[in-house]
Subunit: 437 residues, 2 copies
C-alpha cells in the first residue's frame, strides 16, 4: 500500500514539501483553508494599495496540478490526533502515515484580543484588504470633515511594532500620503498626514544588524514617520492609542502616559502559533510553537513533522529559528526528504539551516539587506530586496505583473490598487465603515 | 460668482462630463458612492477569475486630479430636490446651479427581490467578487462531495438572461471549467460541468444582428453551453431554478415546468433605473428611467441633465437609446457642452447619437461586432472587441495589465485571479459559504 502523507498548510513550508514529493511514490494530500498560496512578505503592499491581491496569491491547485500524486483539499483543520494518526477537519477527517504541520502563526494581542477590531493585524489577504479599506477611507473622511481637530485624528496612522512588517507598513503609508494621493484632495493637504511607529524595544528591526537598522530608522524619519522607541501601548480603542514610556530597563515611567488620537491603527507587534498546536497535547514554547527534534519530528511521534513558523527549532547555540520564509522553505523540503527516506526504511537526517540573509524595504527606493558579512543599504539594499522577492514569487505571471506594477509605481508614484471594496469580516465589523453600502 | 455643477455618478457618463469640464470656469463636484470608476463591460471577467478588480477599476480622484476645478466627493446621494437645486447626501447636502445625474441602473428581479441572494447580478465589483467566490467554491465543494447526484447540482451553473452579459458570462464559466481548472481536481472531471443559459426571448443577443447572434449561439454550443430559448424562470431558491417553457406567442406551456438543480445561479436578465430617479417627482418610463428632452434636460428643469443608462432618450424613430457605454460617454460630454454654453448665456444643442456599433465576446477567441453595415464574427470579431475594450479602459496602467493578463491567459488557459477571498455583503450572506472563516 502506498503511504499517505497529509500536509496541513499551503504556505512556504507546506508548498515546498509538496513540490519535493512530486515524483515520490506517496499519496499526498495538502490541506489549506484558503485556495491560494499567499506571498506574505508583500502583504503590506496590498494593504497600502501598491499591489492587487491576485499579484501575491496563486491558486494552490494550479501550483501542484502537474503532480498527479498530490491532491489539494480545501478545508479547516480543527485538531490532530497524533496517536490515531488522524487529521480532523470541520467536514471530515483524513488518515495519514506521515504528517507535516505547517499552519504558521497569527498575530497576538498579548491577551488583549478586544484590540483587534481597532487595530487589525496583517497576516491574511482579508487583513490586508481591511487595512487598505481603512487607510483609503480615512483620506475620504478627511476630505469631508470640517473640524480641524477631528481631521487631525483621521489623518493619524499608528503602526504598533517595529519589526520588518511594521517598518515596511509605516514607510508605505507615509509614501502613499506624501506622494501618491498628494494632489488628489482639495480640502486638506495629504502631506500633513501623521504616521507613527511605536516600538517597545530600543530600536527598530531588532533582528537585523544594528548599523542597518539605524539606516532604516533614518530613512523612516526622512519620510516623516514619527518613530517612538521604548514605548508601550497600554490601550487601543476607537479613538486612538494610549502609549506609556518606559525606562530602558523596562519599568514604566510617567503616570498617565500619552493619548494619540488616531482613526487608523495597524498591529504588527507579536505573533502566536496557530491554535491547532494546542490540540496535539505535546510540548509547546512560550509562543505556542511546537518543539521539534533536530530531524523536525515531534518528540515521541517519529512520523509527525512540524515546519515553518509553527515549529520551535532550537539551534546549536540555544537560540531558535526566526519566523521567516527561508527557514520555512528549507524545513518543508527537508521534512519531505526525511519522509521519503523513512518510507523506504532509511534513517532521517538532522535539519541544518542555511542562512541566506534577511532584508526589509523602506519606501520607494531604499532597503536594507544582510547576508553573512554582506550588508547593503539604500538603493543597493532595495535592489537586493526587489530581486529576491520577485525571484521567490510563486507563479510566472505574478512575477511579471508585480514587476510591471512596481516599475509603473516607481515612475509615477501612482498606486494601482487604490480601491475601497468589499466588506469587513464580522470580527472586525464594529469599526470599519462600509463604502457606499 | 462661479456657477456650481454637481455630477452624481462616476461611471462613463459622469466621468466624460467631468473630463469635458476640465478647463471650464465652473466649480464641479463629482459625487460617487465608490472611490473608483468601474469598467463595467469587463465585470464578467472578474466574476470568472480572468482579471483582478484593480485591472478594471481606477480611482476617480486620480483620473481627475489634474483638473483643479473638479472636486470628488465620496458619498451616497439619497435624493435630489430639483426646485431648491439641492443634492442630498447621507451626510450632508450640495447646492448646485447645474446638475448632471448619471447614476445608471441596477439589476431588476421583476418584483422577486428575494431571488437576489440565490442569483446575484453583475453590476458592481462586490457582485463580481461574490460570483467569483461562488463559482470557485463550487468546484471545491464538488471535490469533497461523495454523492454523485449532489455533485451534479454543485457542478451546474445557470445564467439567467441572454443579453451580452449573460452570453459572455456563460461562455467564460464554460471555458473556466473546460480548460482552466480541467487538470486541477482529482475526484471529478471539471469538464463535466454543466452551464445553462436561460433566455425568455426566442434568441440570444436580441439587440444584435440576427446573423451575428446565430453565430454567437453556435459558439456557445461548441463550448458546451446548454442554451434554452423561449424559457422563463418561475422560481429560484437554494436548490436551483424552476423553468417553464412558453410558446413563441408568450403563453406558458407545460403544467409544472422543469426543475434544474443548480448550486450557482447568476442573474443577467433585467435592469431597473437607480432608485434616485423616484425621488425627483418627474416622469419616468416603465424601467424607472428619467424621460429627458432632446438637449438631455429634464422637462421643466432646464439646469438638470440626465445622461447614460438613467436617461430615457427617445430617438426620432420613437425607439429609446440602449443602456451601453457609448451613449453614456457621448451624452456625458454633450451635457457638459450644453452646461458650458448655458453658463455663458448661449442656447443648448440637441443631442445626436453617433452609433459606433456594438460587440460581445464568447469565450477565448471568438466574438461578434457590428458597426453600421460592418459585421464581424469569430476571431476577427474577437479582435475588434479586444481592441475597443482595451482602448477604452481608463488609465494607462490598466490597459497594460489587462493586455498582459489576456495574453497570458490566451497562451496558457490560466486564470490569474482564481482566489476565494472576502466576505459576502449582508444582503447576500444567506447562501454564500465562507472560505476558511
Amino acid at each position: 500500500m502506498i503511504p499517505r502523507v497529509v500536509i496541513v498548510g499551503g504556505g512556504f513550508g507546506g508548498l515546498y514539501a509538496a513540490e519535493r514529493f512530486s515524483r515520490a511514490n506517496l499519496k499526498v494530500t495538502l490541506v489549506d483553508r484558503y485556495n491560494y498560496h499567499l506571498f506574505q512578505p508583500l502583504l503590506y503592499q496590498v494593504a497600502t494599495a501598491g499591489l492587487s491581491p491576485g499579484d501575491i496569491a496563486t491558486p494552490i491547485r494550479s501550483i501542484v496540478s502537474g503532480h498527479s500524486n498530490v491532491e489539494v483539499r480545501l478545508g479547516d483543520v480543527t485538531s490532530v490526533d497524533l496517536k490515531a494518526r488522524k487529521v480532523k477537519l470541520e467536514d471530515g477527517e483524513l488518515d495519514y502515515d506521515f504528517l507535516i504541520l505547517a499552519t504558521g502563526v497569527r498575530h497576538s494581542y498579548f491577551g488583549k484580543d478586544h484590540w483587534e477590531r481597532f487595530a487589525p493585524g496583517l497576516k491574511t489577504l482579508d487583513d490586508a484588504l481591511e487595512l487598505r479599506r481603512r487607510i483609503l477611507t480615512a483620506f475620504e473622511e478627511a476630505e469631508v470633515e470640517p473640524d480641524e481637530k477631528k481631521r487631525e485624528a483621521i489623518l493619524t496612522f499608528v503602526v504598533v511594532g517595529g519589526g520588518p512588517t511594521g517598518v515596511e507598513l509605516a514607510g508605505a503609508i507615509a509614501e502613499l500620503a506624501r506622494f501618491t494621493v498628494a494632489r488628489d484632495y482639495r480640502r486638506f493637504d495629504p502631506r500633513k498626514t501623521k504616521v507613527m511607529l511605536v516600538e517597545a524595544g530600543d530600536r527598530v528591526l531588532g533582528t537585523f544588524d544594528a548599523g542597518l537598522a539605524a539606516h532604516a530608522l533614518e530613512t523612516l524619519k526622512k519620510l516623516g514617520v514619527d518613530v517612538r522607541l521604548n514605548v508601550r501601548v497600554t490601550n487601543i480603542d476607537e479613538t486612538g492609542v494610549m502609549i506609556g514610556g518606559k525606562a530602558p530597563g523596562g519599568d514604566a515611567v510617567g503616570s498617565e502616559g500619552e493619548k494619540v488620537a488616531a482613526r487608523t491603527v495597524a498591529w504588527a507587534a507579536g505573533v502566536v502559533a496557530s491554535p491547532l498546536a494546542r490540540t496535539l497535547g505535546v510540548e509547546l514554547d512560550r509562543a505556542g510553537r511546537i518543539k521539534v527534534q533536530n530531524d523536525l519530528t515531534i518528540p515521541g511521534f517519529p512520523t509527525a513533522y512540524v515546519v515553518g513558523d509553527l515549529a520551535c527549532f532550537t539551534l546549536p547555540d540555544g537560540s531558535t529559528l526566526p519566523g521567516l520564509a527561508p527557514p520555512a522553505m528549507q524545513q518543508g523540503a527537508h521534512a519531505a526528504d526525511n519522509i521519503m527516506a523513512a518510507a523506504l526504511g532509511h534513517p532521517t537526517q538532522p535539519f541544518e539551516y542555511w542562512d541566506k540573509g534577511t532584508m526589509a524595504t523602506i519606501g520607494r527606493a531604499s532597503g536594507i539587506a544582510q547576508s553573512g558579512r554582506l550588508k547593503l543599504s539604500g538603493f543597493l539594499g532595495w535592489c537586493a530586496w526587489l530581486f529576491i522577492h520577485i525571484l521567490y514569487l510563486i507563479g510566472f505571471r505574478n512575477r511579471i505583473a508585480v514587476m510591471l506594477q512596481w516599475a509603473w509605481a516607481w515612475f509615477t508614484f501612482g498606486r494601482s490598487a487604490r480601491l475601497i471594496t468589499g466588506h469587513s469580516p464580522p470580527r472586525l465589523a464594529a469599526k470599519a465603515p462600509e463604502p457606499g453600502k
